[in-house]
């Protein structure tokens, strides 16, 4: 099967600093692919490059064979490449349900003016969005808290809400930014189940993460980045055995100072 997303020779320089250097990898349809690496390796930059929040210095990202790098973020989202943010980044003042309803924007048939006047198409859209939001919220276990103001929700729920907002935008590929950061083992295993369930809805997932245990458990394939360069790619078992990866994470002996 043709890859759904292709990253080709992606390079990003900030002044003299090369944050990402000629990174290439493919994402296959309906797989869970994780991009991992030590802090400051360039994971987040890759994430921003794919979602087009940042323009690459060189190289390109293609989605279903179409170049998407350089387009406006909302255009990229419209094509089906949707990113989520870390848990602090949600619509804080809205209820969980309203946030998800707003995120259905891409599915609307009515125009803004239609929504203003309350046209038939707009009323149909509103009803559809409400139903679909309830379904998504139930699916991610947020049914009981959907009328809570988002900023009052505990962290685990916030993470789920972030994914719910992403799903509402009808993604073909969903980019998750550190979905397991700051979670204990219990919360992580629940979140892992959630991500798998999202994949089972037919959504391809690209994760940026540094929780190794979770990544090993969940990923079909892993891409490892260090100092902006891809140093390994493969299944979790292959990555676990890869010497370069072990080196990047633990350091080689003569570089280890006093530990």
């Amino acid at each position: 099967m043709a890859p759904i997303l292709q990253v080709k020779d992606l390079t990003k320089r900030y002044g003299g600093l090369t944050a990402v250097n000629e990174v290439s990898f493919d994402v296959e349809p309906n797989e869970i692919l994780s991009v991992i690496g030590p802090n400051g390796a360039g994971k987040s930059t890759i994430f921003k490059l794919i979602s087009s929040f940042v323009k690459p210095t060189r190289g390109e990202v293609t989605f279903n064979g179409e170049v998407i790098s350089g387009l406006a973020p909302h255009t990229v989202a419209r094509k089906g490449v949707v990113r989520t943010f870390q848990e602090t980044t949600i619509f804080k003042g809205m209820t969980a349900r309203d946030s998800v309803i707003v995120a259905h924007h891409l599915r609307s048939h009515a125009s803004l003016f239609g929504f203003y006047l309350g046209s038939a198409a707009a009323r149909r859209d509103e009803a559809d969005f409400g139903r679909s939001s309830d379904e998504i919220l139930d699916f991610l276990g947020l049914g009981a808290v959907k009328y809570e103001i988002a900023s009052n929700l505990p962290q685990g729920h916030l993470r789920a809400l972030g994914i719910a907002i992403g799903l509402a935008a009808n993604p073909k590929i969903l980019l998750l930014d550190e979905p397991f950061a700051g979670m204990n083992a219990d919360e992580t295993s629940r979140a892992v189940e959630m991500v798998r369930a999202v994949r089972d809805r037919g959504v391809t997932l690209l994760l940026v993460e540094h929780d190794m245990a979770a990544v090993m458990k969940i990923s079909d394939r892993i891409v490892v980045i260090n100092f902006g360069v891809k140093i390994a790619e493969g299944t979790p078992a292959e990555i676990r055995a890869n010497e370069k990866v072990i080196e990047a994470y633990l350091g080689v002996e003569d570089e280890t100072i006093g530990l």
Binding site: A72, P73, V82, F85, G93, V102, A103, H105, F115, A169
Partner: protein, 327 residues
């Protein structure tokens, strides 16, 4: 919405219309204070412009530039009426539309700024508008445009719906009804906007532009839309103001007015559509009441404002309506 909520809402709207269109004119007649018509018209027009500023707050931008659009709207109407002989009634929407178009051009670049940076640029806009009015020939420089004829009659199929304003014994009564009618229409429009899906998209922008754009919302276009509506209201308010004064000068709307438009929103409450209306009323009369304190007027006024913002950060409306937050 439950039937009961609907009932309270209809009662509220009814009460408001009765007060504005019947009770106030009756009270003024009883007290022989026809001068209040002018004052209350001013309050109505200022609150239209403040309503626009409120909408830019709603998308998360501090707008201290509404004076510019009030001035531009006033000039557009004045020029159309005096130089081109257009009816005031046609010039009114055209003034609003001109301001909306101008705000699209200005807004596209400056709405990329946030926080104090956007606020500072809008503050400068008011000065830019004043200096342009001074320099241009079409605005007649410092001499301004004077002797603007009063609004003519509106007829439809040979029937006169609104008589020419000159035929009224007390012109200001006509202007009062014009001002409060336009105010009621503008706020009804704003209320509908905020409570429709468009308003929810605007609120999403205020809370998180990055997340909104990753959900596929065209953030720059929505921001400009809100700003254009805001400026339209500024232009309409300014145009009627000029019709009342029958003259306009570069100093008709200054930075002071821009700041006041913003304060009206703060005072009424940023979470309530009708906040700017209440804020304008209280601020306008509050300032006048303090006139007797002479040299201490500004001191007391500023002190009270600081206290109000500290004690009532959500505005005066939060005192009465804790459960009716519209955001």
């Amino acid at each position: 919405m439950t039937p009961m909520q609907r009932g309270t809402r209809i009662a509220g709207i009814g009460a408001f219309l009765v007060v504005v269109f019947i009770a106030v004119p009756m009270a003024i007649a009883a007290a022989h204070r026809t001068d209040l018509y002018y004052t209350l018209s001013s309050v109505a027009l200022l609150s239209i412009a403040s309503g626009g500023v409120w909408l830019t707050f709603y998308i998360g931008r501090i707008n201290i530039g509404q004076g510019a659009f009030a001035l531009v709207g006033g000039y557009v109407s004045a020029i159309l009426v005096t130089a081109y002989g257009l009816s005031f009634w046609l010039s009114l929407p055209l003034a609003g539309l001109f301001c909306a178009a101008a705000s699209v051009l200005v807004g596209l670049p400056i709405l990329r700024l946030r926080g104090v940076y956007f606020a500072m640029v809008t503050l400068v806009l008011t000065e830019v508008a004043r200096l342009s009015a001074l320099a241009l020939s079409v605005t007649n420089g410092a001499k301004g445009i004077t002797s603007i004829p009063a609004p003519g009659p509106i007829g439809l199929f040979g029937l006169t719906i609104v008589p020419a304003f000159d035929t009224f014994a007390e012109r200001n009564v006509a202007f009062y009804f014009l001002s409060v009618t336009v105010m009621a229409l503008c706020f009804a429009g704003l209320w509908r906007l905020v409570n429709s899906r468009v308003g929810r998209l605007f609120a999403a922008l205020r809370q998180n532009e990055d997340l909104a754009s990753s959900m596929g919302l065209n953030v720059p276009a929505l921001r400009v839309l809100a700003y254009a509506i805001s400026s339209f209201l500024g232009g309409v308010g300014g145009a009627i103001f000029v019709a009342i004064a029958q003259s306009i000068y570069p100093s008709s709307f200054t930075v002071n007015d821009s700041v006041n438009f913003m304060l009206n929103c703060f005072l009424g409450g940023l979470g309530y559509v009708f906040g700017p209306m209440l804020g304008t009323l209280v601020l306008y009369f509050g300032w006048d009441l303090l006139f007797q304190t002479g040299q201490y007027q500004l001191l007391i006024y500023s002190g009270v404002m600081i206290l109000l913002i500290l004690l009532l950060p959500n505005g005066l409306f939060s005192l009465r309506l804790p459960s009716r937050r519209s955001s």
